[in-house]
């Protein structure tokens, strides 16, 4: 099988999607991230692993949180970091993606973190670069956002260590969400027995059942007895055409309120990848409530990205 993420020895070379990642590598990333959580709590929040390496964040699409956490992760590994918002620079002057990348390689970049509105952009760059350069997909179109999926399962594992005994519900705009796909793949790979998706028919991809999930259209049924509720952002900016009557109507049916949360298990945790639309997919009292782990997700995001960068850099051809 030709898996562009792995080198000939089966080691992780690029992180492009969670699909096709063996369970052993997933577990290794999560275990390594566990060690990095402590680093961020110390007096000196840095380790010397990527000293002398240059990490380039190329964001063809804006995302402040994702870019910031990647930047911090690289800096805490002692790498030099350059962040480019390409949407506002060369591309608007007509430069192609590969020209942008080649220019950065000429500046001796060692790793690229790529965000693009087109699915497959990170794969495209990964195929282009030489053997010692690593590519991390930081979100491509509707396709994949692997580090978000990883940090979500890392958060779940921290709060609910027994993954083989969990019911997880993913609620909302699965159709436009690259996070949902990454989450579903990670959860099923790690042996979570029951993953549910809850959404109106218009916000579900065709054949979503084939991803190994149970489909619900009603919150009251879908949330019953779940341990984890993963809310998705209603992707307003991606919404084309009339998939929903109105945001108010959506909140009434699918917004997570205290009443709906009460249907889940009493110790259920509530997650959201951000940025939140308060009052659309989630009520403020839930987002700020004591079952919410939304801010810990952000904190763990740094440790998980440090783990991914370290494993990639440690698997260089010379290594």
């Amino acid at each position: 099988m030709n898996n562009p993420q792995l080198d000939k020895n089966g080691k992780l070379k690029h992180l492009l999607s969670i699909e096709g990642l063996p369970r052993a590598i997933l577990t290794q990333i999560l275990d390594t991230a566990e060690s990095f959580t402590g680093v961020s709590e110390r007096e000196v929040k840095k380790v010397p692993l990527l000293r002398g390496k240059t990490v380039c964040n190329i964001f063809f699409e804006n995302s402040t949180r994702t870019r910031t956490t990647f930047e911090l992760a690289a800096k805490r590994l002692s790498a030099d970091v350059v962040s480019l918002n390409v949407g506002t620079s060369s591309q608007s002057k007509g430069e192609t993606i590969l020209d942008t990348v080649d220019n950065l390689i000429a500046m001796h970049a060692d790793m690229f973190v790529v965000r693009h509105s087109q699915s497959g952009a990170a794969h495209f760059i990964a195929r282009h670069v030489g053997p010692d350069i690593h590519v991390i997909n930081a979100g491509d179109g509707r396709h994949s956002h692997p580090t978000q999926g990883l940090l979500d399962v890392f958060t779940i594992r921290r709060y609910k260590p027994d993954m083989h005994n969990l019911r997880v519900a993913i609620v909302g705009d699965v159709l436009h969400s690259r996070v949902a796909r990454s989450e579903i793949h990670a959860l099923t790979t790690l042996g979570v027995p029951e993953v549910r998706v809850i959404a109106p028919k218009t916000l579900l991809p065709v054949n979503v059942e084939k991803l190994g999930v149970q489909v619900y259209h009603d919150m009251a049924e879908g949330l019953k007895d779940v341990d984890v509720i993963m809310m998705l952002r209603l992707q307003n900016e991606r919404m084309s055409g009339a998939l929903l009557p109105s945001a108010q109507e959506y909140f009434k049916c699918y917004g997570l309120t205290q009443e709906k949360l009460a249907l889940a298990r009493p110790d259920a945790i509530v997650m959201h990848p951000g940025p939140m639309n308060r009052g659309v997919e989630i009520d403020s009292s839930v987002a700020d409530g004591n079952q919410s782990v939304i801010l810990p997700q952000v904190t763990y995001g740094i440790a998980v990205r440090m783990a991914v960068m370290t494993l990639l850099a440690g698997n260089s051809e010379a290594a």
Binding site: S35, G38, R42, V44, V47, T310, A313
Partner: protein
């Protein structure tokens, strides 16, 4: 060669450490053998000395050659390093590279007043200017051989010598 009894060496370490204990003393063991030893030393020395563990995977000097160690464990330092006297514990002192990494990591928690190195076995073969102050025993082990501490099901320690692969 016949190897010395690890439990007797451990008792000797405890005896040698005891006079050094002060109010800021803490034990830090290096994963995994040193962490086991530090845990046992804590109970041999009365049980209320602060105890920490280090996994130096993030500080190894061979990361660029061999990548990350396949299994890393979180380091755990549950006391104030600033101003402390740390007894750093490891099972086998060899090249000195592990100790260099461990000291670098400790300094990222704070500035200790003093670090004392205690090892069960000094096998020679140093590549760094690192020496232990407290030594269970010195053994001459050939470069190709691997001396390690093992812990049996009952929790007792043994030294084990393996030929290099």
């Amino acid at each position: 060669m016949s190897l010395p009894d690890a439990e007797q060496l451990l008792a000797k370490l405890a005896d040698d450490i005891r006079p050094l204990l002060g109010k800021n003393t803490a034990l830090v063991g290096i994963h995994s053998g040193g962490a086991w030893l530090a845990e046992r030393l804590q109970s041999l020395l009365g049980g209320n000395i602060p105890l920490g563990t280090l996994d130096i995977s993030f500080y190894r000097d061979d990361f660029n050659r061999i990548g990350l160690h396949p299994q890393t464990k979180p380091s755990h330092i549950p006391f104030e390093v600033e101003g402390s006297h740390i007894i750093l514990v490891d099972d086998v002192l060899y090249t000195g590279r592990t100790i260099r990494g461990a000291m670098n990591e400790l300094f990222d928690y704070g500035r200790p007043d003093k670090i004392t190195l205690a090892v069960l076995v000094d096998r020679g073969g140093r590549e760094m200017p690192v020496e232990a102050q407290i030594i269970g025993t010195r053994l001459a082990i050939k470069p190709g051989e691997n001396l390690e501490l093992v812990r049996d099901a009952a929790g007792a320690f043994h030294l084990k010598l393996n030929e290099a692969a």
